[in-house]
Symmetry: C2
C-alpha cells in the first residue's frame, strides 16, 4: 500500500478563491485547508474553463476546453466517445472513484445510436464521466426535477434518520423551520436559520463519511484517484447548526464594487447584473444574511476535512496521497453588483487550487504560493504524469503543472481562456440571442483580461493596475491596441486542431513524408525525383505485360 | 417509383472547376455534363472545405468543417460518433448507397473503446461514413499499401479479365507498356501512353456499370442517394486508349502563372511550390504530356455519364432523379508554379458544382449559372431538404442551397472557409512545424481571399481585380485594413459552438429560462422575485417538520 501514490481530488462547489484564511480572508478561518497549503503549493491564479458547474466540470474531467468537448451549458450531455478521466487514468491501472457531484449528463441518444447499453460497463463508464460511482450525488434535487435527476442515496439516508417525504434533500437538509412551517432554502430570506437536519446528517459530513468508507474498503493495491466532490458551499445557502450562525454580519468583508460600475456599464455585463441574483445581492440585507452562512458552509467543509485528514493519517495514507483541492467556480456574493456566478470577474471565474504532493521531488515548493496562470484543464495531465503516464497531447488541451510543483518552472502558459454559453439565461431570448449565439470568451494574461462576446463591446481589465476589476477599459481609446492584441491571441487560440482525436502526435510523425515510402509518388517525373532511390516503384518480378 | 425523388450524387476526384466546356474550357468538350448544366444550375464559386481528398470528403459526408469533424488529413480516422450522411438521411427513409471512393478511414480504436463490432451494422455504418457500400473503391492502391487498404473488388474483376498478379489496379489499369516492360503510372514521364487495360476495363467504365447494376437491382420503392464517386481524373494520370492521346499539347491551355509569383513569394506558398509536384509541373514538357491525359480522363467520364444518363432515361429515372456533380478538390497542373493540389489558389480549392433537379420548383433557374459563394458542406443540408427533412442546424455547418435552386435567393452566405493541415508534407519537419501546427485557413468573400497560416505572413488576393490570383497583397501596406477585417471574420468563424452535438436548437429553446419552472430559484430573495407566482416552491402538503 505504501508504494501506491494515490490522489485525493477534493472539489468544492461554488467556493470562491478568496474565502480561505490561507488566501487572505480576514474573518474566516480554515486551518485544515491552510495545513494543506503549508504542505504543498497554493495557486493564486487558477481559473476554470467556464464559470458554471456542468461545463466547468466536463472540462476538468476531460481535460479539454468547453468548446472542445461541446457540453457548453448545464443539461447539455457530454457526447459519447469524448475521452474522460477514466479513459486517461484507466490504462495506467488507476481507479478513478467518485464520492459526490459530477454534474455529468449522459448522451443517451448517442449511446442508443451506437448500440451501447447504458447499464453495460462501457455505458456506465460513459454515464459517469469515467468515474467508478461509489456515491454519485449532484447535490441539487428540487422537487420538480427529481424525476429527471433520480433519487440520491442521500435521501434514503435521511429517511433512515427519520426525515420523511419524497425529498428530504430539499425539505430537511436544504430547508429551515419557520413560524409558518418549513421554508425552502431556495429562498434567501431565511439563510440565517439552521437547516432542518442535525449537523452530522447534513451533506458535507455525509459525503466525508462516504469517502472514509471507500478508504476503508479499498483493496490496498490498486492505485486510486478519489474525487471527493462536495456540493457545498453551493446554494441553497442553508447550513446546519452551529454553522448557520457561526459568523455574523460583522464578519462579512465589504463587497468589491463601485458606484462607477453602474454607469455606462457594458450592455451584456448589465444583463448579468440585472438577473434576480444580482438584484438580490445589491441589497445589503442579503449580503449580511447570506454571506455568513456561505462562510459557515466553508467552515464546515474545513472541519470535515480536518476529520478526514486525521482518518487518513491514522491509516498511513497522508504520506502517500497527493491531495488536490479546488472548486468548479466561485460566487459573486454581491461583488460587481452581481450574485451567483456565470460572468468573468475573478470572484466568479477564479478558484482556489492547492496541490499537496508528499513526494520528495516537491520539497522545493512546499508551502509556497505560485502566481502562474493555471486552469482546471491542467489538472488531468498533471494526474496522468503523477501516475507515471504521458498526457495524450492530441486530446488534452491543458498543461501538466508538475514543473510548477517541482520548481523546475515558474510558468507553464502565457494565458488562460474561459467560456460561457448564456443562451439559457432568461434575458437571452429577450435580447434576441439565438440558441447557438450566447457565446462569451475570457482570455487573461498576467497583465490583462479581455471579455469578448460577439455582438457586444468588449470588456477589458488591467490586471496589474486594477486587480479588483472595477474599471472596464473595453471602450477606452487608449487601449485599442491591447484589445486588438488580446483578440488576436483569442483568435489564435480558437484556430487550433482540438478535434483531431483519432490521431496521436506519434501517428502524425509517422505519416509525415509518408507517401514516397508507401509508393505514392505524387507528381514525380521519373526516378530522379526520388528522395531515396530505394523507394522506386517497379513492376513485380515476372509480371507479364 | 415515379413518386420517389432520388439523388445521383456524382463526385469526380481532382476535377478542376474550369475543365468542363460549360465552365469555359476551350478545347475540352464535355457535352453530357454540359447537358446537366443546361438542365440545372451551375455554381461558379463552389469551394471545398479542404483541398485534399480525405478531409474534403469527410466534410462533404458529415456536412461539417474540417476543424469540426477533426479528420484533418489523409489517414486521420473520422472519429466514432461523428454524425455522417447516413445519420442524416436514414431517418428520412433514404438509402445512401456508395459506388466508388469515400476515403473514409474508420476509427477502429474508438469502436474498440465503445465495444462496437466493426462487422456489425453499426460498425459498418461508421466504417463506410454512413453509406451502404455497394462498391467501395478508394482508387489508390499502391503495392506497399495494399495490406493496409485491402484488395478492391476491381482487382478481382481485372484478374477475371486476364490481368494477373497481386495488384492489377496498379500494373494493368494504372501502368503503361514501354520498351522496357511495364512502368507505373506514378511516374509522369509516360502519361501519354495508353493504360495496360482495354478502355471498357478501366476504372471509370467499371464504376459506371456498377452504378447501373445498382439501379437495376434497386427495389423501386426506397428512395436512394447514389454516390457515384469516380477516382479519376486523379493521378496516376493514366488513360486507356483512345483517351490517352485524344488531346495533344496544342489543346493545353496556358498555365495561369507569372514570373512575378516567383519573386518575394510568401514563404509558406514557396514551400508548396518547391514540392516534387511543383518542380515537375514547372517543366513545359510535363504540362504538355500530363494535361492532355488529364483532359482525356475527363472526356472519358463525360462519355460514361452520357451512357449512364441514357440508361437512366430508358428507365424513366431522369425525370425523378436530381443529379449533382462535383469534385473533392482541383489540380494545379502547373498553375502558380504548382502541381497536385493542397494549397488555396482557385485551381486547387474551387470545384465544379452542378445541381440538376427536375422538379418544377426549380424551373426558374434551369440552365443558369449561379455565382454565389457556396461550399461542399452545403450539399448535405440541401440533400436533407430535398428528401423533406429539416437540416440539424446544431450539427450541419453548411447552408441548404435550395433557395438558390428555386431562385428565392441569390446568396446564402457571405463567405466560405477552407482549411488544410500540412503536417504530412515533407517540408513540415524541415521548417519545424509541430504535429498539430500545420494549419492553414482560407477565407473568401466575393471580393477577397485571405490565406492565414500561424507563423507566416498572410496571403491576400483581390478576387475582383485579380481573379487569376497572380498578385499576393499579403504584405501590401495599403491592404492592412482588408487583412484585419478578413482575419476578424475568420476569428468570428472559429469562435462558434460546433461541438455542442448532443443538444438541438429545440432543446436550447426548452432550457432557456428553465430554472424557475424547474423550482431552482437562483438568488431569489422571496416569492416577490418570482416571474410567475405559480412557480413558488412550497413544502409538500402534510410534510412534518
Amino acid at each position: 500500500m505504501q508504494n501506491r501514490r494515490n490522489i485525493l481530488f477534493i472539489m468544492c462547489d461554488q467556493l470562491r478563491h478568496d474565502y480561505l484564511s490561507c488566501a487572505g480572508h480576514k474573518t474566516l478561518q480554515t486551518p485544515h485547508i491552510d495545513t494543506l497549503a503549508a504542505r504543498g503549493v497554493r495557486f493564486s491564479n487558477a481559473y476554470v474553463q467556464s464559470p458554471i458547474c456542468g461545463p466547468s466540470r466536463m472540462s476538468t474531467y476531460t481535460g479539454r476546453y468547453m468548446s472542445s468537448h461541446g457540453a457548453t451549458a448545464n443539461f447539455v450531455p457530454l457526447r459519447i466517445g469524448e475521452r474522460n478521466i477514466g479513459d486517461h487514468l484507466g490504462p495506467l491501472g488507476v481507479r478513478p472513484v467518485l464520492v459526490g457531484k459530477t454534474h455529468m449528463i449522459a448522451d443517451r441518444d448517442g449511446m442508443a445510436r451506437l448500440g451501447i447499453d447504458p447499464q453495460s460497463p462501457i455505458g456506465v463508464h460513459h454515464r459517469e464521466a469515467g468515474f467508478e460511482p461509489y456515491e454519485r450525488d449532484d447535490g441539487i434535487y428540487p422537487d420538480k426535477m427529481l424525476g429527471m435527476m433520480g433519487q440520491p442515496r442521500y435521501n434514503d439516508y435521511l429517511r433512515d434518520k427519520g426525515h420523511e417525504g419524497d425529498n428530504p434533500w430539499h425539505w430537511a437538509a436544504n430547508a429551515v423551520e419557520t413560524d409558518k412551517g418549513l421554508r425552502s432554502g431556495f429562498y434567501n430570506d431565511i439563510t440565517d436559520r439552521p437547516a432542518a437536519v442535525a449537523e452530522e446528517d447534513s451533506e458535507t459530513p455525509y459525503m466525508t463519511r462516504r469517502a472514509m468508507e471507500f478508504l476503508d474498503q479499498d483493496d490496498g493495491e490498486t492505485p486510486w484517484l478519489l474525487h471527493l466532490s462536495y456540493i457545498k458551499p453551493h446554494w441553497p445557502y442553508v447550513a446546519p447548526a452551529p454553522y448557520n450562525d457561526m459568523y455574523g454580519a460583522d464578519d462579512v468583508q465589504a463587497p468589491i464594487r463601485s458606484e462607477a460600475e453602474l454607469k455606462d456599464t457594458n450592455p451584456l455585463m448589465r444583463h448579468f447584473m440585472e438577473r434576480v441574483a444580482g438584484r438580490t445581492f445589491r441589497r445589503d440585507e442579503a449580503i449580511r444574511k447570506v454571506v455568513p452562512t456561505y462562510m459557515g458552509l466553508i467552515k464546515q467543509i474545513d472541519d470535515q476535512l480536518g476529520q478526514l485528514f486525521a482518518f487518513m493519517q491514522e491509516r498511513g495514507l497522508l504520506e502517500t496521497t497527493t491531495i488536490v483541492l479546488t472548486a468548479d467556480h466561485g460566487d459573486y456574493l454581491g461583488d460587481h453588483w452581481m450574485g451567483d456566478k456565470d460572468y468573468f470577474h475573478d470572484p466568479s471565474v477564479k478558484v482556489p487550487l492547492i496541490i499537496a504532493d508528499p513526494s520528495a521531488q516537491m520539497d522545493a515548493t512546499r508551502g509556497t504560493t505560485c502566481d502562474a496562470l493555471v486552469q482546471s484543464i491542467d489538472l488531468l495531465p498533471t494526474f496522468v504524469e503523477h501516475f507515471g503516464g504521458t498526457p495524450a497531447a492530441h486530446l488534452l488541451d491543458g498543461t501538466s503543472l508538475r514543473p510548477l510543483l517541482t520548481g523546475e518552472a515558474t510558468r507553464v502558459q502565457d494565458f488562460v481562456v474561459s467560456e460561457y454559453d448564456y443562451h439559457q439565461q432568461t434575458f437571452a431570448p429577450e435580447i434576441g440571442t439565438g440558441p447557438r449565439d450566447g457565446r462569451i470568451y475570457m482570455i487573461a494574461t498576467t497583465d490583462w483580461k479581455l471579455i469578448h462576446a460577439p455582438g457586444f463591446d468588449p470588456v477589458l481589465f488591467d490586471r496589474r493596475d486594477d486587480p479588483q476589476e472595477l474599471h472596464d477599459l473595453g471602450r477606452s481609446p487608449d487601449h485599442a491596441g491591447i484589445r486588438a492584441d488580446m483578440l488576436a491571441r483569442l483568435a489564435d487560440w480558437a484556430l487550433q486542431y482540438r478535434q483531431r482525436e483519432t490521431y496521436t502526435d506519434d501517428m502524425a510523425a509517422r505519416f509525415t513524408a509518408f507517401e514516397e515510402k508507401a509508393g505514392v509518388l505524387i507528381g514525380y517525373w521519373d526516378e530522379n525525383d526520388l528522395i531515396d532511390p530505394g523507394n522506386a516503384v517497379n513492376p513485380p518480378q515476372g509480371q507479364e505485360t
